[in-house]
Structures are given as structure tokens and as C-alpha cells.
């Protein structure tokens, strides 16, 4: 055990993660060349992201700490985007372990028909909840508590995926699929409640015109210009007192270019990052589609990018970007400046929009409320997120500044699980047991009232009759 730890520390995640992924790929019968290339790119992506994050933090952190000092805007936490959460996951042993363990666990759940969703095709998105397991481990010091937390979050995710599947399929027009990506789907159960209220208030009947909205909010769809403007606005606020000097303006403009650069460079780097797991996902997908698996009804987990471009999804996401920015500043209890994950907003409403059947107003209302809750969850874990980031080598150059991945942190469901597992040692056994009990009750209620629940989530009876 001691030797293993020494080896892991000596080579570091940029070598060990690709190695684990390579072996896992071969085991799942991915062609050797594809497996090797993918694994290599993953190591490169990890390294590249670490370098970029360093550059970004050294220019942004001082500005943010100035802003906190000089204005009333108390947002000391910088949203450095979801790749940071992925990096933390894979730089910790729990992340590598869960790639293998979680895949096996998912196969068991699927083959025993505990769930109808085949999760491993979306293996790339495991990190979204394994991140929370990593901070459970960090807070409690227990690797196995972290694993147990990951398992519970995995179970909850598959329950939501089973529940939402027909609604997603019918709304987006893709048969046989579902989404198992936490950020897009975990707001769906909340949306079911909000929809019920909105229908009582007769607000769900109001239809907004997506084309008109798109032309008004189109700017928010251009990540680079958005990054520049946000950087500019916050840097001006931060340096409000000294706007008379040329030096200040040099700093302001440089900050704006840095935030623009973040938006431009992120997709390229994160593209490298995912390459390692794409061959696994694709190989499993092909084998399922070819019918190697004998099972009548099941849902294949698929990357949510295929839902992104649908008109109402895109429009609601763009409309929500400035709303979330404003709410982040105005609603007390939030400490995070959303930035790098803002362009992901259309992803963040996918589950909600399916429940709302494409109603933009209802989606925007439910999304805004959900992400106010999400902001509180994210703010609560900003300190431990920062600690986890520092542990894997991220430098935080200004005291008092923190980092999070907004899209990953704004999950009230994962936050509840985290709180149950990280509760004081005296009550922990109780809170963990309670969290499993709640899951089981909801699971059996769903099993018993499956059709009614799936209709509440947006699917029509006709569609359910056709697919069941």
C-alpha cells in the first residue's frame, strides 16, 4: 500500500490517469490504437488545463480581491469552470478508482434491472458527482465514505434519468436515450413542482417568442465577447477609486483580455481532456446498439450536447445568463462570480425544459429559482473546493480569493448528500442512513407510480403507450 502511494505520487495524475484509462479501455475491448491516443490526450489535457488555470488565477485573483475590498460586491470566489472539478476528480485516487468501480456498479444496477438506464456510455460525466465524493473524502478523511457517497449520488442520478427519459425522448425526438449528466438533469424534479405551481397561477400558458428573444440575447451566445465585457465591467468596479490614472486602465484592459482568452481557450483544452473517455463511451454505445445486450426496454445515457441546440433550450439558456449574473450579485448568501461556466447555461436547463415542454417563461422562472438555491450550495462548498484545488497544485495568488466550478457546484441534490456524509461524527451514521432511506422511499414510489411520474415530468400518455 505504501509503495503504491509512492508510485502514484512520483508519477502524478498526468501519467497515472491515462494509464488507468488505457487499461480500462483495453479491458472494454476498445481498439488498442484508439485507446492509446485517447489516454495520451487525456494526460495532455490535464497538464494543459493546469497551466492555463495558473495563468488565469495570477491575473484574475488580485482583481477579484480588489473588487471585494473596494466595492460592496462580496464575490471573492472565481468560477474557473467545470474542467477544474474534473481535474480535481482525476488528480485524486477516488476519481480514478470510481472510473472502474462506478462502471462495474452501473453494470450491476443495469443487469439486475434496478435501473433501466445504461450509465457507462456517459462515463465522461461521472466526474460531476465524483467531485462531491472527493470533497466528502477531504472533509471526513475517509476514502470509503467518499465512495459510499458517490454510490448514493450515482443511484439518485439514475433514478432521475429513468424518471425523465421518456420526457427527454419525446421532447427532443431521440428514441431510447436519456441524460445522466448531473448539471443538466438534477433540476428536473424541482421543475415538476414549479410547473404545478405555475399551472395553478395560469402562468404556464404564456408563450414567449424564441426568435425575438434570441435576437435580443444573442450577445450572450458569443462566449468571447461576453468574457471580455464581464472582465471589463468587474475590473472597472474593482478599480473604481483610481480610474483617473493610465496605469489603472492598462490593468482593466488586460483583465478584460484575460477573461476573453479564458472563454476562447477553454473548449480547446477541455476537448483534449474528454478524448480519453470517448473511445470507451463509443465502443459501449456501438455494442449496445448492435443488440449484444438482450433487453427490451432500456435507456442509453448520452452526452447532453445533442440536446443543446434545440430552439427553446438555447433561447432559455441565453436569457438566463444575464439573469443568473444579476441574481448572483443581488441575492444575499452567494459568494461566487459566475464566469467560465456561463456559456454552459443552455446545458443547465435541459431537464427543466423537457418538463416544461419547451415553455420558455416557465423554464426561465424555474431555472432562476433553482440556481439561486444552487448558488447557496456552491457558495457553501467554495472553501473546501479551493482546498481541494490547492491540494492538487493550483496556486491561489491572492489571500481570501477562492475558486469553484459553477456548473458542478450549483447542485442542491449533491450538496444535500455531501452534508449528510460530512455531518459531525456523532450524528453522521444517522444522517447517512437517512439519506439512503429517502432515496429508497422515492425509488419505490417511482417504481409503483412510474407512468404518472413520467407524465408529471412532461411525457405524454400517447408516447408512453407507444414505447412501453
Amino acid at each position: 500500500m505504501q509503495t503504491l502511494k509512492l508510485v502514484l505520487d512520483l508519477f502524478g495524475p498526468s501519467i497515472i490517469v491515462p494509464l488507468v484509462v488505457f487499461v480500462l479501455s483495453l479491458f472494454l475491448k476498445v481498439p488498442r490504437k484508439q485507446a492509446f491516443q485517447g489516454a495520451l490526450y487525456m494526460g495532455i489535457g490535464l497538464t494543459a488545463f493546469n497551466i492555463i488555470l495558473g495563468g488565469l488565477m495570477s491575473s484574475l485573483a488580485p482583481v477579484v480581491s480588489e473588487m471585494v475590498k473596494n466595492t460592496g460586491i462580496n464575490l471573492p470566489t472565481i468560477d474557473v469552470g467545470w474542467p477544474a472539478a474534473a481535474m480535481i476528480v482525476y488528480a485524486n485516487q477516488i476519481g480514478m478508482f470510481y472510473l472502474v468501480f462506478g462502471l462495474a456498479f452501473d453494470l450491476v444496477l443495469f443487469l439486475t434491472k434496478w435501473t433501466d438506464t445504461f450509465h457507462p456510455t456517459d462515463i465522461w460525466n461521472y466526474y460531476q458527482f465524483v467531485f462531491w465524493a472527493a470533497i466528502v473524502q477531504l472533509s471526513t478523511g475517509s476514502f470509503w465514505l467518499g465512495i459510499l457517497a458517490a454510490m448514493l449520488m450515482n443511484l439518485i442520478l439514475l433514478l432521475i434519468a429513468d424518471w425523465l427519459a421518456p420526457s427527454l425522448q419525446e421532447y427532443y425526438g431521440y428514441d431510447g436515450v436519456t441524460s445522466t449528466c448531473y448539471a443538466p438533469v438534477n433540476g428536473a424534479p424541482f421543475a415538476v413542482l414549479v410547473k404545478w405551481v405555475l399551472m395553478k397561477l395560469r402562468l404556464h400558458e404564456i408563450k414567449l417568442n424564441p426568435e425575438d428573444l434570441r435576437s435580443r440575447f444573442g450577445f450572450w451566445g458569443e462566449p468571447v465577447s461576453m468574457g471580455v465585457i464581464i472582465g471589463l465591467a468587474f475590473a472597472i468596479l474593482a478599480k473604481w477609486a483610481n480610474l483617473g490614472s493610465v496605469d489603472t486602465w492598462a490593468g482593466v484592459l488586460k483583465t478584460a483580455i484575460v477573461t476573453g482568452a479564458v472563454m476562447a481557450i477553454y473548449p480547446a483544452v477541455s476537448g483534449l481532456f474528454v478524448k480519453g473517455l470517448i473511445p470507451i463511451s463509443q465502443t459501449l454505445n456501438t455494442r449496445l446498439r448492435k443488440g449484444e445486450l438482450k433487453r427490451k426496454n432500456f435507456y442509453i445515457a448520452i452526452d447532453p450536447a445533442v440536446f443543446f441546440g434545440e430552439e427553446a433550450t438555447l433561447t432559455s439558456g441565453l436569457v438566463l445568463i444575464p439573469i443568473i449574473l444579476a441574481l448572483s450579485i443581488l441575492v444575499p448568501g452567494n459568494n461566487t462570480l459566475p464566469l467560465a461556466d456561463l456559456p454552459a447555461m443552455p446545458f443547465m436547463v435541459i431537464g427543466i425544459i423537457a418538463v416544461m415542454r419547451g415553455n420558455i417563461l416557465s423554464t426561465v422562472i424555474a431555472g432562476a429559482l433553482w440556481y439561486v438555491l444552487g448558488n447557496w450550495a456552491n457558495s457553501d462548498i467554495a472553501a473546501v473546493f479551493t482546498q481541494a484545488a490547492v491540494n492538487v497544485g493550483v496556486q491561489i495568488p491572492a489571500a481570501g480569493t477562492m475558486v469553484t466550478s459553477w456548473a458542478i457546484g450549483v447542485s442542491p441534490i449533491c450538496w444535500l448528500v455531501y452534508k449528510a456524509f460530512a455531518a459531525p461524527a456523532t450524528v453522521r451514521a444517522l444522517t447517512i442512513a437517512a439519506s439512503f432511506a429517502v432515496y429508497l422511499v422515492v425509488y419505490f414510489l417511482f417504481k409503483r407510480n412510474r407512468i404518472a411520474w413520467q407524465i408529471a415530468a412532461g411525457a405524454s400518455r400517447e408516447y408512453l403507450d407507444r414505447v412501453n
Binding site: E222, P267, I278, R289, A305, V306, F308, G309, L318
Partner: protein
């Protein structure tokens, strides 16, 4: 004659990478010269300097300079991939032809 393609998805990452690799395979087999640029769906309305856009998921977004937009979802999931490949090659050949005629 090089055909200039753009492949777009939500984040310009996961599905784009998969679909791009598939398109490369198809076009290499057919010995067609091409370039591929990744993009985000939010950017395709205002793209210029491309001959054909392939989007990985359904979208109603159109391009302002009338560059044709194909839905390349079948290349991602494998369902209907053959039909899509045919349609795609037909479109690519048409573009080749058009450009040959435009500047002989």
C-alpha cells in the same frame, strides 16, 4: 478543391470530437480534400467562410450567409449513420461541383 466543413455542438467538445473523427474517416475513404473547424451551436448563425455545417444535435438555427446545415446526430449515436453518410456525401460532392464551376 478543398471542402471547408464546420462541426458544431453545444460546448464544441464531446459530440463534436466524435462526429469530427467519423467525418474524417468518411472523407478520407472517398479521397475528398477537406478542412474541419469545431464551433459552438451559438456561433453558427454568423459563420462565414465555410461550405457546410454539421451540427451534432437537432437545431432550427440557420446560417445568415446561407451555408447549409446538416444534422449529424446519426454519426454520434450510430442510428441511421448509413443514410446520413449518403446524404452527407451527396452534399459534399455538390459543393465540390459548385466550386469547380465557380472558378474553373
Amino acid at each position: 478543391m478543398t471542402v471547408r466543413l464546420v462541426v458544431a455542438c453545444g460546448g464544441g467538445i464531446f459530440t463534436t470530437t466524435v462526429v469530427t473523427d467519423r467525418i474524417k474517416e468518411i472523407l478520407r475513404k472517398e479521397k475528398i480534400r477537406f478542412t474541419i473547424t469545431p464551433a459552438k451551436i451559438t456561433e453558427i448563425a454568423n459563420l462565414r467562410d465555410a461550405d457546410l455545417i454539421v451540427v451534432t444535435g437537432k437545431t432550427t438555427t440557420r446560417n445568415a450567409s446561407n451555408i447549409p446545415v446538416l444534422i449529424g446526430m446519426p454519426l454520434f449515436t450510430g442510428v441511421g449513420a448509413e443514410e446520413f453518410t449518403e446524404q452527407f456525401l451527396r452534399e459534399v460532392r455538390r459543393i465540390e461541383e459548385e466550386r469547380k464551376n465557380a472558378n474553373p
